[in-house]
Symmetry: none
């Protein structure tokens, strides 16, 4: 019997205890507990035991790819997530529009969270330096991406973004000859972009209003676009991705999944959780595998906000009824743990629960770190979970005869 | 938050039940149980499931190295552990000073456990044969190490030590041309060493006293010195190793850890357990990662002494209070199981417990084979444990963004 898979990623939901319990343990989550009760539970280390995953590497692993083989940096996924078209060999960066002074010292890495940087991106888009084409796109607020296209580019290039204020933009360095050439052209682009941006009408307008001008680009997270064999497409399966943040959409696009846009799905603390879950169930008519990422728990974790994380897990849980009546394979986990006490990703495994009609059932009755480890799935990694989910849905080929 | 890691290795502590219970289950170990109760437990297969590890390969794995990639033999680690300086390409052997008759038949593989073989080592040290320099160092009693230095040496060389008495020293064989050349020079060295040793005043003196002369060297365990990227040093971290036996010190030295010497730490049945544990806690001021090896459980295991192993586990446990007040990451495990019923290393996983302030906690309350497998760490290998410990200490880089 063929059915579809919905894999719900509660981004950064795994945690360590504060005062004896984790947010998932404190939160009232009857729907998550129902999924745990109906099926099998375990612990997931998306990229592997003792690895601190990024969101990019974790989602690659959860979609069946080995990130150690294919991951070079975040840039290409950000660019893809903003809708840019990339070709193998393109080198891409994540970037901020920021504010610098005359000595290129960073005054504000976010240019006062400028609400719409698209006109600035358009002013820079298409510049050519030393035969390399530069393409720029803007995302939400100060965020954007940069793509360099040309012969023989390298991606082992350091960040221009100094990641702090009061210090100048960093002249990028490259590791090998191709990287060095790429770094030189990138720096030239950053200097020319500053000249263009400081004269841009939008920035003049902002300065007149006393707002910080977005007069510089701060690229970081270089990576090269590589062709990644799609674990879904190569099996003739159709995948969809539902996410608020460009990075996760970009990982999906890199693997041939279609992005299903949901109004109000921002990737923020008050995203349209219900809309995303309903869209996932709706997409099951057209797609074999649907990954839904809800970013909010990770956002609260990075803020160190235990109470906020607990409340948002409850808010998400209230939106999960559609999953309880879904007749395909439902899996819930996190891409990684982001303990509020650490405010960053850790290697701690995350709970995982999988339920589908006719599937096995274990003794676990709650979705949490301290219950799921006793489940019948044991410990598994992202690739293992991905393949098992395809199998539960009747979509996995046999190895051998 | 950065803190230090203390990894305590109870060498060979894992076991199989005799009369229904293992030594760890019979022993009263309140401090080990307290560590298990405070944190997470699991089962460790240092080198991998279904692998019978040596102490060398196990410790390499526990220090973050893949022994399948870097291990060629025990020799270089023994030599390093005796304080010898090795260069990449050196071929090294563990050796015994033993007693042979005129036909080179082995009468005593340990020359009556000669108390100090250093003068004999000095008499052999520096010999040059076919352009190859031979360096010899003595360890405790009849033990020592041999290093060959020269161009194009091979390490696929069989043992000269026949591992039994009543048979002659074995002329070593080499696999490929470089190994063959190395084996030929080694055999020439063994013959010349016999000539030097049988005339040595120390041996004449022994013979006069009716003691077996240490008139031969019995090399075994050939290995080539290779440069192993240090999993600590490459991360800018400082490591220390506290151990009684040269082999474990040598593994530490090979990976750039500093050897912290503890008076009375012999690696024997009555080593200075308390001194080692106190030294580890003291070293945490200066080092990020401290591995402490306590050899005694393994020694009793090789003797097949269930009662002795049980009692020494209790004696060690009484010395562990300093770990309970340590504010860093504490991990306790064994490098491998050495069941008293087998008297040798087996692939049985060993219990592992990890505790640190703010860390996760599971339902396990005792440190033993039959309790720890139910813990939240599940099954993991040495590399995985090593990386996880760095993460708990806030010392692990993120993979991806």
């Amino acid at each position: 019997m063929r059915r579809s898979v919905i894999l719900l990623i509660l981004d950064g939901a795994g945690d360590r205890p504060v005062g004896g319990r984790t947010p998932l343990e404190v939160a009232e989550t009857p729907n998550l507990d129902a999924i745990a009760s109906r099926g099998e539970c375990g612990m997931l280390s998306s990229v592997g035991r003792g690895i601190r995953p990024g969101s990019d590497t974790a989602h690659l692993a959860l979609l069946g790819v080995d990130p150690f083989e294919y991951y070079t940096g975040r840039g290409p996924f950000e660019a893809l997530g903003l809708g840019m078209e990339l070709e193998p060999g393109d080198v891409a960066f994540r970037l901020n529009f920021g504010t610098v002074d005359r000595e290129l010292r960073v005054l504000d890495r976010r240019a006062g969270r400028i609400p719409d940087a698209r006109p600035l991106a358009e002013a820079l888009d298409g510049m050519v330096i030393e035969g390399i084409e530069f393409r720029v796109a803007a995302g939400v607020e100060h965020r954007g991406a940069l793509v360099m296209r040309g012969e023989g580019l390298g991606w082992r290039v350091t960040d221009v973004d100094p990641h702090e204020t009061g210090v100048p933009l960093r002249k990028p360095r490259g590791e090998g000859p191709e990287d060095e050439r790429t770094a030189r052209a990138l720096w030239e682009f950053v200097l020319r972009a500053h000249e263009v941006l400081r004269e841009h009408p939008l920035n003049r307008e902002r300065e007149e209003k006393g707002l910080p001008p977005a007069n510089a680009v701060l690229p970081r997270g270089a990576g090269i676009m590589v062709e990644i064999p799609s674990p879904l497409g190569s099996r003739g399966l159709r995948g969809a991705i539902i996410a608020g943040i460009p990075l996760v959409k970009g990982v999906g696009r890199a693997l041939g999944l279609e992005v299903v846009e949901v109004p109000g799905a921002t990737g923020g603390k008050n995203s349209n959780f219900r809309g995303k879950v309903e869209a996932a169930v709706g997409a099951a008519d057209d797609y074999d595998f649907i990954l839904v990422n809800i970013k909010a728990p990770d956002v609260f974790s990075h803020d160190g906000d235990f109470e906020g994380k607990t409340r948002v897990l409850e808010a998400i849980d209230r939106c999960l009824e559609p999953l309880l009546s879904f007749e395909g394979v439902v899996a819930v986990t996190a891409d990684h743990s982001t303990p509020v006490s650490v405010r960053d990703h850790t290697s701690d495994p995350t709970p995982v629960a999988v339920a589908y009609p006719g599937g096995r059932k274990d003794h676990v009755r709650a979705f949490s770190e301290t219950e799921c480890y006793r489940g019948s799935l044991g410990h598994l990694n992202g690739n293992e979970l991905f393949r098992a989910l395809l199998d539960y849905a009747g979509l996995l080929e046999k190895f051998g005869a």
